[in-house]
Symmetry: C2
Subunit: 680 residues, 2 copies
């Protein structure tokens, strides 16, 4: 563990921005207290006094930001529950309608196809018109924001609303479209986090510099946790996907928020569903006495390798189709202007294929995502019980898989083959949608096939195929996203701790296969497709990119001031630069870098110089701040990127032998990355 | 998540040390291939060829370091199993002897007291004589090593052997001494890791710079995993304790190694114990239908707060006693020269108190640590079943707790009060010992008291006190070590996933209480007591330390060369400095820093200059390497420490306005920290 003291970031940032923030804080305070021109002065004063007292009370227990973290978890969980609730109602409505039309196949076909088509068209058009960025998963954008790049339109409240409504439409289209909610929910919780962080900074007396950034980091962790009520793996998943370094300072806030989120989500589920206690999301019935035999570890390892290999196929297909939609002129035009039409067409195609009187009967298309997962993770062997399934009064939870009379391995194989291309196609849909859950279900089906297949082939009656489905789900989703935490996630959503070690083994091996030869993960491919300035993804495609020296790519001459600059030069600098930190050199000839001055101080200097008669020099009035970390032009882009994200949203100065060469900021870094990836 | 690209470290290091390592690699190769002077040339050649082919085969699948990681896990787990096995035999021998002497109280007393006394004296004297550093936990030293400081004697094979044998003695003394194995095992696995990393670097063709460091990081994670067969929480615990930043590059190796370790540990346990399948370490019998009612969350939260408060008392007592043993002249002398005597005296005192015919009967002292934990985590309520306990044929697993006829809350309270000071006393024992497990058991007792007490007081028959014991164990051990992962650890060692959320809530609240007011954790206190140069611990006691500017504390003038230096000046510099990187300035007058030269190049320069007649300047022969990261004297110690540990074991140059001020290396940093903490 490279043990870098996390507080250093805070220190560096706070040193630099001290000047700017004091005025900010007092401004915040005045916003809260002194609106004397508004009506009802007395009642307002009383309410305000009470609010201030309340703030003091809360602040006495712990910092106000901790309430923010807890609120974030609770809010996100509430949003998640509300979404699940609405989606369930919409799905039930569809099922009810389909059942009512039982006599007429044509009407059934129309009901089956038009319902998801309408939802997709509505979702796509709605999100396109209100907030065009809201389609897709959102995880690539969130991790770019967390590195340090500013993308304010990705965190607005409009965006939150659009994504929320659009996602409900997508999920209500059900297993026909076969998309999930994890990715968008990470994005949604980040937006909630950004909003809460603004609220916190309004209330807090003590301004903390990186508070908003910290809240975003926490929010990314909460997303998954409130999606499944799985706090531990939620945080770990977001750590793995989002960052390449994790500061342990953010560990406790993350887990606090995730625990609040997970608990709230489960409590809501309990209250709404008349359950007696807190339950896991996907109930299972594994035998507890002997979860698995030691030799089965080998079969789990084989499953892991298989999942890794299949994930490579899937990722390759996904990249190819993604590339095709970008290059094919018809599709490109359609996806730019006629998103609704495209969404409708794809949804119609998918719905036709899954129609239960057509191919759908061989792939259990009547099941929702949740039913699919529950049926796949059932601990009983399908093979051994097919014969008497029709005799029983209540159908088995996997009845749909064998309803045609074909053996289970036929329907599972058919499901796997069909869903592969259907999922790749669904990924091109311009709607807000998550791509984790379908992959998780796909992996469960793969695991089920291996587990039940082995039991059937070698007549192993004591094997539990549900365990293989669990391990397969973990391994396949881990391989697609290049993460290990799905192993824990699978345990958390089923509550089957006994299978943690096999799931971990399978996930490790699947990751080994998927990560070999520096293949990009699913999210990396999305990042690259969207040309986001995310270096860890970009370097999978442009391997020489990180080792390019900064000196080669640094932009033109930056604005600089000499030590003895007068008001005229300062005015020039203020006019021509928008940076908050402007470098000061010994003289324009020597170029020896002395430090930097803050823009605010320069403005003050200009104001003072107007009132005074004697012209003063810059170094007589302004404080020249020392530079803490200096780069050389020989530093690689990778190093500059790392240091920039370590010290936060700050300017880095590049100097060669003490002489100023240029500035490096996030916008500059973005330009560099865009230039280089265009060039190559 | 501050997303700093981890590869940067590698890049920086590899850039700097390229020159030095090429020669290293070829040297390694020659070691393996060309020992022509040894006998049996032909057989050796054949064996070597086969070995080389084998290496190629292995290397074709994945890098050889991955086999190293897997081997590390398996080896550590084997060591752990072997230790458990030996300890079990020794404990059984003691029990057998004690039972045989059932008629004679005096002999029983002697057996009860002298057995642990002998073991402690042997363990203490053995470790003192062979390797005096091997006493204590080892975690503070390991985390200092992981930051970047070199402490080679802490990773030697002698140390490994001494600690292993000493630890067996300590554990065999059983619940009388009440110490565990987690801490030393982390240290042991780090030593195994260091050894394996040397082995790997001998075999590998491609030399990787930070391979040994990476292996140590992984090893720290494996320690806990192989101790309990708990791979996931093991890695997380070591991440939390060891570092303040975690590079995700090390995530997969850590989990691979931990999964191998956990699996091997459980497989060994299975094979040795005739169990049918892989089992968790501490078996529990929680009801699965309704693990807990939602309102119980409040009781769990109360338990968390209570655990936090008690942990503060414990940590305060521990610090006070630690200070006392340092300042009291008699104890100080005894602990320096007569470790065996001191260990014997303390062990005798502890054994007297726990003697079952004396106070021991009220605190279930006949139970081993494992039995204690199993009895505390039993799901049945003790209170409701005390009446018919004597009627049953086989005693309940908690029989010892109520054998005196006193109600359970009396014995639990007595246990908690007595063990508090006994544990603090045991912590002063100069033997290799872990301090995590006793705290875990103590927390379980606290949880049991709350759970069973609440059930007894409010007559709640459906409550499961075992769940409270689980949550209490997690919360208390989390509070003492300032970590959250015990919540997951408690789940992993019992397999009771249903209680993950309550345990997490309790642990979060306990951590909140324990961390308030910047109190040092248990390991922090050990670090401070041993005056280790570990900044995150030191700053808990010296809050102004991290913000001291580097310029104030930097040592005297460093050795430097000017660009135009001749052989005489270079010879001087080589003689007077031991650094591998020597700074080059423009001229001694201007002091403008240009870069650095490697020591190896200077030696080459000197060799060449002897052969040539015309005197050449430094810059004509040697390559002056550019400096990647430059510090200013205004940087704080915290910042310097962070950057130093980010870039690995490298030299940092400090310059002010382009002029060289000094060098900063780990030994220099150690000196600075020692000076400052002495001063204040």
């Amino acid at each position: 563990m490279k043990s870098v003291e996390c507080e250093s970031e805070t220190d560096i940032e706070s040193n630099k921005q001290e000047g700017g923030n004091q005025s900010n804080t007092s401004q915040t305070k005045s916003l809260l207290l002194s609106d004397e021109w508004k009506p009802y002065l007395r009642p307002r004063t009383i309410v305000k006094e009470w609010l201030l007292k309340l703030r003091c009370c809360f602040g006495a227990v712990c910092g106000l930001e901790w309430y923010g973290f807890a609120a974030l978890g609770i809010l996100t969980a509430f949003l998640s529950f509300l979404m699940d609730f609405s989606v369930l109602k919409l799905l039930k409505a569809h099922q009810w309608l389909y059942m009512k039309l039982d006599n007429n196949s044509l009407l059934q076909f129309l009901c089956w196809t038009l319902y998801p088509v309408c939802l997709c068209v509505v979702g796509s058009t709605f999100s396109h018109n209100i907030c065009p960025y809201s389609t897709g998963s959102g995880i690539p954008e969130v991790r770019t924001i967390l590195v340090g790049f500013e993308m304010p339109h990705y965190l607005s409240v409009t965006h939150l609303f659009t994504k929320y409504v659009g996602l409900i439409c997508t999920l209500a289209a059900g297993s026909t479209i076969f998309l999930g909610k994890v990715g968008p929910f990470v994005h949604l919780s980040t937006m909630v986090g950004a909003y809460l962080s603004n609220l916190c900074s309004l209330i807090q007396t003590k301004h903390r510099d990186n508070a908003s950034r910290e809240m975003l980091v926490v929010a990314a962790g909460v997303g998954v946790a409130s999606c499944f009520g799985a706090p531990i793996s939620g945080v770990l998943f977001s750590v793995e996907v989002m960052s390449s370094h994790f500061a342990l300072r953010q560990y406790v806030p993350c887990f606090l928020s995730a625990a609040c989120g997970g608990l709230t989500f489960r409590l809501f589920s309990m209250w709404s569903g008349d359950e007696e206690t807190l339950q896991v999301l996907f109930k299972t019935n594994f035998p507890t006495a002997i979860p698995f035999y030691p030799l089965e570890i080998l079969l789990f390892a084989f499953l892991g390798l298989l999942c890794g290999a299949v994930s490579c196929c899937y990722l390759y297909l996904h990249r190819t189709v993604q590339q095709f939609t970008k290059t094919n002129s018809v599709l490109k035009k359609m996806l730019t202007t006629e998103k609704g039409l495209y969404a409708g067409m794809v949804a119609f195609l998918l719905a036709c294929v899954t129609f239960p009187h057509f191919a759908g009967q061989y792939m259990a298309s009547k099941y929702t995502m949740k039913q699919l997962l529950t049926s796949l993770m059932d601990s009983r062997q399908w093979g051994s019980q097919t014969h008497n399934a029709s005799v029983q009064l209540e159908p088995e939870p996997w009845f749909e898989w064998i309803s045609t009379g074909n053996p289970f391995y036929f329907s599972l194989t058919f499901f796997l083959l069909m869903k592969m291309w259907m999922l790749v196609l669904a990924c091109t849909l311009p709607v807000p949608a998550g791509y984790f859950m379908p992959v998780f279900v796909y992996g469960a089906a793969l695991g089920r096939l291996v587990g039940d297949g082995a039991a059937h082939m070698f007549s192993l009656t004591s094997i539990n195929p549900g365990g293989y489905a669990l391990a397969g789900a973990a391994a396949y989703s881990g391989a697609v996203t290049h993460t290990l935490s799905p192993a824990l996630l699978a345990v958390e959503v089923t509550g089957q701790y006994s299978h943690a070690v096999p799931a971990l083994v399978a996930t490790l091996l699947a990751n080994g296969v998927a990560r070999s030869r520096h293949r990009p993960s699913f999210y990396d491919a999305l990042s690259i497709g969207k040309r986001l300035p995310h270096l860890p993804s970009l370097k999978k495609v442009f391997p020489q990119l990180p080792s390019t020296p900064v000196g080669q790519v640094l932009g033109g001459k930056s604005v600089q001031l000499q030590k003895a600059a007068g008001p005229a030069e300062v005015q020039d600098a203020v006019d021509s630069s928008t940076e908050t930190q402007i470098p000061v050199v010994d003289s324009h000839e020597s170029q020896i870098l002395l430090g930097f001055v803050l823009r605010s101080e320069l403005l003050m200097f200009l104001r003072h110089s107007k009132n005074e008669t004697i012209e003063k020099h810059l170094d007589e009035v302004c404080c020249i701040h020392p530079i803490s970390v200096l780069l050389s032009p020989h530093n690689t882009i990778q190093e500059a990127y790392s240091i920039l994200s370590l010290v936060g949203a700050q300017t880095l100065f590049v100097a060669d032998g003490g002489r100023l060469v240029g500035l490096l900021t996030w916008p500059e870094m973005k330009r560099i990355l865009e230039d280089l990836t265009k060039e190559i």
